[in-house]
């Protein structure tokens, strides 16, 4: 995961206007995910056919999302929509992570999802297609729809969408794990690149200095974090991350219910 789903809310908390936070958040993922994407591509972990279908979807979704963002921003409702999306999304992710981490810390065995052997609903859709690298035959509509959803999320929330894509690829499409990681990284690199360009071109919503600082920070942070993470037990690390995610969701949610000190918000227009 790119961690974009934490960067954008934090930018909003420190006072970056929501549209700039979302646009810059998407753009910085390009830099943050470039190296991982490249390495996985070199190792042959990218299912190109799958990635292309996903990209057709996510580029359309991204285009649609950036248009929606523009309309919402003009009417002044973008910030509100972003808040709702984040409260819902982070609340959901945070709570599922929390439950998973707590069961893991307590040492209970993880409940294995019931293994399906028979045909799933995806097999009955039209336009079945072979994806040899993923060792998979499925309908074109599944990756296309997934791509569209991810593209919209990238445009409206400034996230890479890995947290949506990875579970679906793993559990619905049942692709091999390393292909899932390679393919999702590869496609989110190009999706965030498209959305970054659209956000800059249509909405003037990418701050160059902020984007550069975030890319530098995430690259060095990843190095540092990897060393630190090696010395910490994984379950506790996941628990901490889950708590952070829930805390951010709660903070965003409180912003909706606490009466504002000032009902008017004034933003400089350049």
């Amino acid at each position: 995961m790119g961690g974009g789903f934490l960067i954008t809310p934090l930018l909003i908390f420190v006072g970056v206007p929501p549209l700039i936070a979302v646009g810059t958040g998407a753009a910085q993922i390009v830099g943050a995910s470039a190296i991982g994407s490249y390495s996985h591509w070199r190792m042959g972990n990218v299912d190109m056919r799958m990635a292309l279908v996903l990209l057709i979807g996510s580029w359309s979704g991204g285009l649609l999302g950036v248009h929606v963002a523009k309309i919402l921003e003009r009417s002044g409702h973008f910030g509100l929509v972003v808040t709702f999306l984040y409260v819902g999304l982070l609340g959901f992710i945070g709570i599922s992570m929390l439950i998973e981490a707590l069961t893991a810390v307590r040492g209970k065995k993880k409940a294995k999802p019931a293994k399906e052997k028979g045909s799933s609903w995806t097999d009955r859709l039209p336009w079945q297609m072979n994806f040899p690298v993923s060792d998979l035959r499925t309908s074109l509509l599944v990756p296309l729809g997934l791509g569209i959803a991810v593209g919209i999320l990238t445009a409206l929330m400034g996230v890479g969408g890995g947290f949506v894509m990875v579970p679906i690829m793993l559990y619905v499409l049942k692709m091999p794990t390393k292909v899932v990681i390679g393919t999702s990284l590869f496609q989110l690199l190009f999706t965030t690149a498209e959305v970054g360009i659209l956000q800059a071109g249509m909405n003037h919503a990418v701050d160059p200095y902020l984007a550069l600082a975030l890319v530098l920070g995430s690259i060095f942070g990843t190095q540092f974090g990897a060393r630190l993470g090696a010395r910490m037990p994984g379950e506790q690390l996941r628990l901490v991350l889950a708590l952070v995610v829930v805390a951010v969701a709660v903070k965003m949610g409180l912003g909706l219910v606490i009466p504002p000190e000032n009902v008017f918000q004034v933003v400089q227009v350049l």
């Binding site: 753009a27 690149a193 800059a200 200095y209 009466p259 008017f264 918000q265 933003v267 400089q268 227009v269």
Partner: protein
């Protein structure tokens, strides 16, 4: 720069006092100096102090006014809907000065009559009187008050009735404080010498607030060629990520 300003301030009597003494019988006048007439805004700009100083031919009170070019703000209002606070109307307010600082040696209302204050634009209530609201809200007064409050909080609007120091009735100095976020362009600096409710003399100068160097170039480019800017920035971020990543992988 500030040292230079102070030095000039100290040396000023030597030049000005003889002239001022001679001119005492002639028309009142005031000589105005600034530490610098240019303010460079970079990405690290966090506001700035400006020293204003000068000499007076006649005794009196001094008013220093700094007014920036027009700015625009977007104002949104939150409305309560059930337990939630929802963003309602959004109004763009424009055609009013983004920065306005009025410093004086005594409270304005003690040294100038109301009509004169309005004529010179020194009335805080009149700052937004020509502002345009798009779309026009029902109660424009509430929105105007919100803009004023935000500007004051940001430090863009400052009214300091004790901000001008007069020494020996001949020299004055004042510190203007520019906020971190400010409109670019040519600022008007006006200084008035006031006595018994009348403006005896005034002096005008402009101060250029401009983005400089790479910052100016990037801002212009991002504004005028947003698509090209987006493509270039995205490629730059990708190659930065890739380059640094490869370097770090080699290291470890």
């Amino acid at each position: 720069m500030r040292l230079f300003g102070l030095l000039t301030l100290l040396l000023l009597p030597a030049f000005v006092l003889p002239i001022a003494a001679r001119a005492a019988t002639a028309a009142p006048s005031l000589v105005l100096g600034t530490g610098n007439d240019k303010v460079d805004v970079t990405s690290r700009f966090r506001g700035r102090d400006l020293l204003i100083f000068g000499a007076l031919s006649h005794p009196g009170q001094v008013i220093v006014v700094l007014r920036s070019p027009d700015a625009a703000v977007a104002v949104t209002q939150k409305n309560q809907m059930g337990p939630l606070w929802i963003t309602g109307q959004k109004v763009t307010v424009s055609h009013f000065p983004g920065v306005l600082q009025i410093l004086s040696s005594r409270p304005l209302e003690q040294i100038l009559p109301a009509a004169e204050r309005t004529r010179l634009g020194l009335d805080p209530e009149s700052i937004l009187k020509d502002a345009k609201y798009e779309p026009l809200p029902k109660d424009a007064a509430a929105w105007r008050a919100a803009v004023l409050a935000a500007k004051e909080k940001q430090g863009a609007y400052r009214l300091n009735p004790a901000g001008v120091r007069i020494q020996d009735g001949r020299l004055f100095s004042a510190h203007l404080q520019l906020p971190a976020s400010l409109p670019l362009g040519s600022y008007d600096l006006d200084v008035y010498l006031v006595n018994q409710g009348k403006v005896l003399a005034q002096s005008h100068q402009t101060i250029d607030v401009q983005q400089v160097g790479v910052e100016e170039w990037i801002a212009k480019y991002a504004d005028q060629q947003p698509w090209l800017y987006g493509v270039v920035l995205t490629l730059l971020l990708a190659s930065l990520g890739l380059g640094l990543g490869i370097v770090m992988q080699r290291k470890s």
